[in-house]
Symmetry: C2
Subunit: 201 residues, 2 copies
DNA sequence: CATCGATGGTACTGATCAGTAACATTGCTT
DNA sequence: AAGCAATGTTACTGATCAGTACCATCGATG
């Protein structure tokens, strides 16, 4: 019974800590959240936290790694939702990001925010951030190419910048700014982009 | 003589403080820089700083206001450089931003960064940031319209997001990312955008 | 010279925070 | 029941930092 309760309401402390970290770090920023606040929000204490993460920096890195993995799983989802349809996958992803920008908390991309907050080039989180963004861009280029557009790299870069810019705008201009029109803008971009002349095998 | 030296090497403390704040706040982030560090870098002390700025938050707001004013002065420069030539002004501005993205410190837009670092919606700096970004967008829409493009608002929004995204990318993906191709991408966007059929009075 | 305002310097308060030590407790396994 | 590993609890250290009190100094002005 106590076991059941633990099973349901209390996952292992490491998970609870990461869940709390996600909420607080994202909402308030990395610097504004103390280790103690996370431990308390995770219904545990600082000691247990430090038994799972050797420092706050490592907790931050773990938090960002988790987010990156989750974001990258979205590509898999897109493939499953629109198998064999690169254009459909592309639009699915853009819609998802766009919806997130609309309904989200207005705090933009957690990875990008972390990059802003962490000025030190040596911080362990920087590797995570940079690697993630690079993979995202590579995936995007590949998908745009697969969808048959004539110049996949510039087009993918434009889409990439639109997405990054939109998420950033939410924080500076607010929800009413151009960030809220992300999908429409991306759609217009795709519509006017020329496709390769039928190359399909 | 002492007066001359003061005139040359030592501007009034308020200016020195703002100059130091610009360097340190931009390079290391708002939270990472102490008031003391700024005072020392400004060759003065905390007391004098607090005689000119009632709190660190106000210093931050002043720092951002100064940057915003400086950024907005760029529109004036564009008008002077290409009088009566909206298209030329537009491209001049895009080139300037693009060059900044290339040669800059890789820390992106100070105003946007501040918005990331300041999560509290009540912070005095948020008004500065939001107002600035709004004006920038309005100016951009007006300029794109003046340049004769058929659908000025969406085009201006796309450009706006490209610029914001590029500056953000410098921090997350680094200098080699798509942020470094800002002008080429914006140029392609403008080239493929239809113009209004001659309407000029 | 006297005065006054602005500035410099020092030392402090109070608060927050990362990280640790030492001990108590719980729950599972044998 | 005994033992063990993970977790909870409390209290602490050392450091940093925003903001202030108090006094010294300097430069201009009368």
């Amino acid at each position: 019974m106590a076991r059941l309760k633990r099973q349901l309401a209390q996952s292992p402390p490491r998970e609870r800590i990461l869940r709390a970290a996600r909420e607080l770090f994202y909402r308030d920023g990395l610097n504004a959240v103390s280790v103690d606040a996370i431990a308390t929000a995770a219904d545990t204490n600082k000691m247990t936290l430090y038994r799972h993460f050797s420092s706050k920096d490592e907790l931050v890195a773990a938090y960002l790694s988790e987010l990156a993995a989750q974001a990258e799983a979205l590509w898999e989802t897109a493939r499953n939702e629109h198998p064999g349809d690169a254009e459909g996958q592309l639009r699915y992803l853009l819609k998802r990001v766009s919806a997130f920008a609309d309904e989200g908390s207005g705090r933009g991309c957690a990875l990008a925010n972390a990059a802003v907050e962490i000025a030190e080039p040596r911080h362990p989180a920087r590797r995570v951030i940079e690697a993630h963004k690079r993979r995202q861009r590579e995936n995007l280029v590949a998908l745009v190419r697969e969808a048959g557009y004539a110049k996949p790299e510039p087009l993918a870069d434009e889409l990439f910048l639109l997405v990054e810019g939109a998420r950033m705008c939410l924080q500076s201009v607010g929800r009413t700014g151009p960030g809220s029109r992300l999908y429409a803008l991306a759609d217009a971009l795709l519509a006017s982009a020329p496709k390769r002349k039928s190359v399909k095998a």
